[in-house]
Symmetry: C2
Subunit: 270 residues, 2 copies
DNA sequence: CACGGTACTTTACGCCGTAAGGAGTGGCAA
DNA sequence: TTGCCACTCCTTACGGCGTAAAGTACCGTG
C-alpha cells in the first residue's frame, strides 16, 4: 500500500514542474470529475509566493502568509502543493523563465558571456531569494535546463573540451551568484536593520577603534585596503557606497575571469 | 534612559569579539563583584554551538539545543550572549581562527594563491554552516580581519593596483565559497534525505524521461553535457560521484581564474 | 435527492526565538 | 553574623513556523 518513500513525492513534483501550461491542457493534469471546483490553481499559489519573496525576502514566505495573500488559510495551499519544499522548487523554476535564452555569437563568445553574466546578475538582484536555495540537487525543471542550455551553447563557442568547459561553467556561475549575493545581502541588511551601509560602516568603524586601538598596527593591509578611494562607476553614481563598490568589483572580476578563459582557449585551442 | 537603538548591542558584540582571552584577563571583561559565580563562559557556549553546527548543520543550532548540550535551558544562554545573531557572529569569527595566516611567496604568488584556495575550500567543508551566514555586513572580528590580511598580503605580490586587486579578491572568494557550497549542499542533502547522490540522480533521471519524453531533443546540449564521462581525479577515486566532479571543477576553475590574474598582471604590470 | 469526491477550515502538536518574572547562590558591607 | 544585592539559572508564556487530523461546505454525478 505504501508508496516507496520519496518516490511518490518526487514524481508529483516533476509532473508539476513539467506540466503542460497550454490553454487546452485543462485542470493541469488534475482528474476532472465530481467535487467542488478549485478556486485557485498551482500558478496562483506559486505567483503569490514569488511576489511575497520578491517584496520581503524568503523569510516572509510562510504558508500562512501565502495563504493570506490569496484569501485562504495556510492549509488550503496543501491541495495545490505537497509541501513548502515543493513550492520553493516551483518558485525557482518559474522565475528562471525570465532569463534570456539566446546570446548571439556574432561578436564572439566573450561579448556573449559578458552579456550573460550581467543579465544573470540582474536576475539574481530581482529575485535574491533564489540565491538561498540549495545548489546541489537542483530542481530539474524545464527552465533550469534551459539556462544550462543557454550557457553551454555560448561556452561551446570557445572550443574548450568538455571537462574544462565544466570547470569554466562552474567558475562563472559561482562568481555571478557570489557577486550578486553580496549586493543582495547588503540590501536586505539595510532593509531589515533600517540602517544604510554608510551609517552602519561609520558606527562600526568607530566601535572598532574603541575596541581595538592598535588596529592599524595589527592589520596594516586591511587598513590600506579599506582606505583606497574607489573611483565611481559610470551610471551608478547615486547607488549606495558599498553597492557601487560591488558593481565595480563585478566588472573587474568578470574581466579577469574571461581573460583566464581566453588564456586557456589560446593554450589548448586549435 | 533608553540607549540608542542597536548601538548598545553593537558595542556589546564588538567587545565580545575582541575580548582579551589572555589568562590574566579574568572574567572576560565582566564586572567582577558580588553575585553568583558563572558556571559557564562565552567560549563554552560558542564552542557548543560550533560543535552542534559542525555535526548537524546550522539548522540544528537552536538556543534550546545548545543549552541542552551544556546541561542548561535555552534561557540560561542569554546571560552570556545577547541573542542568537550575536552567537552566530561569535561562532563565525572563532572558526575563522583555524585558517592558516601565512603563505610564503618564495615560489611566487600563484603557488601561494592555489594553496590559499585549497585551504579555504577545506575550511568551508569542515564548517559548511559558515557559508550560510550573510556576507554583507561582515562580523568585523579579529579573525575575520586576519583572513583579509592574509589574502591581501599574497595578492599584493601580484603588483596589481588597489581597485583591480579588490576585484580579484572578490572573484577568488566568490569562487571558493561557491565551489565549497556545491559540495557542502550535496553532502547535507545526502544526509537529510538519506539518499546518496547516485541514487538521487538515477531516480530523478528516470522520472525526467517519464515526464519529458522528448528531453534529448529539447535539451541537446544539456544531454551532451551530462553524458561526457568525467575522468577520475587522483586521490579522490572513492568519493561520491558528484563530489569527485566538484573537486575536478574546482581545480579547473581555479587554474582558469589564476590564468586570468596572470594575464591581467602581464598586461598592467611593470 | 442522496452520495462521493473535492476545497477549504479549524484545531492541534511540537518546534523556534525570546520576554517576563521568580528562585536560589554567593560576595560584600554593616 | 546578618542582610542585601548582584548575579545565574529556571519556569512559564507568547506569537511565529510547517503540517497532521478531522470536520464542513460545496459540487457534479447516479
Amino acid at each position: 500500500m505504501a508508496v516507496f518513500a520519496g518516490q511518490g513525492d518526487a514524481r508529483r513534483s516533476m509532473r508539476l514542474l513539467w506540466r503542460d501550461r497550454a490553454p487546452g491542457a485543462g485542470a493541469a493534469g488534475r482528474a476532472v470529475g465530481s467535487g467542488r471546483r478549485p478556486g485557485l490553481d498551482v500558478d496562483a499559489v506559486v505567483d503569490a509566493a514569488i511576489a511575497l519573496a520578491d517584496e520581503d525576502g524568503m523569510a516572509a514566505v510562510s504558508m500562512r502568509a501565502v495563504g493570506q495573500r490569496l484569501g485562504r488559510t495556510a492549509m488550503a495551499l496543501y491541495t495545490y502543493v505537497a509541501d513548502k519544499a515543493e513550492l520553493v522548487d516551483l518558485m525557482c523554476d518559474k522565475v528562471l523563465g525570465e532569463l534570456p535564452v539566446d546570446y548571439p555569437l556574432d561578436s564572439g563568445w566573450r561579448v556573449a558571456l559578458t552579456a550573460w553574466a550581467r543579465d544573470s546578475r540582474e536576475f539574481y538582484l530581482r529575485h535574491p531569494w533564489v540565491l538561498q536555495v540549495s545548489q546541489a540537487r537542483p530542481v530539474l525543471g524545464p527552465n533550469e535546463f534551459t539556462t544550462v542550455e543557454t550557457l553551454v551553447r555560448v561556452l561551446r563557442a570557445t572550443g574548450l573540451e568538455a571537462s574544462v568547459l565544466r570547470g569554466v561553467l562552474g567558475a562563472l556561475v559561482q562568481f555571478v551568484r557570489g557577486a550578486a549575493a553580496v549586493i543582495a545581502d547588503a540590501r536586505s541588511a539595510a532593509r531589515e536593520t533600517g540602517l544604510g551601509d554608510d551609517e552602519w560602516w561609520y558606527s562600526r568603524s568607530s566601535l572598532l577603534e574603541e575596541v581595538s586601538p592598535d588596529f592599524a598596527d595589527r592589520f596594516p593591509l586591511s587598513t590600506w585596503f579599506g582606505q583606497e578611494p574607489p573611483p565611481p562607476v559610470p551610471g551608478n553614481e547615486c547607488a549606495p557606497y558599498l553597492e557601487r563598490d560591488a558593481v565595480r568589483n563585478f566588472e573587474v572580476g568578470l574581466a579577469v575571469l574571461l581573460d583566464g578563459v581566453e588564456a586557456t582557449v589560446a593554450r589548448g585551442g586549435a
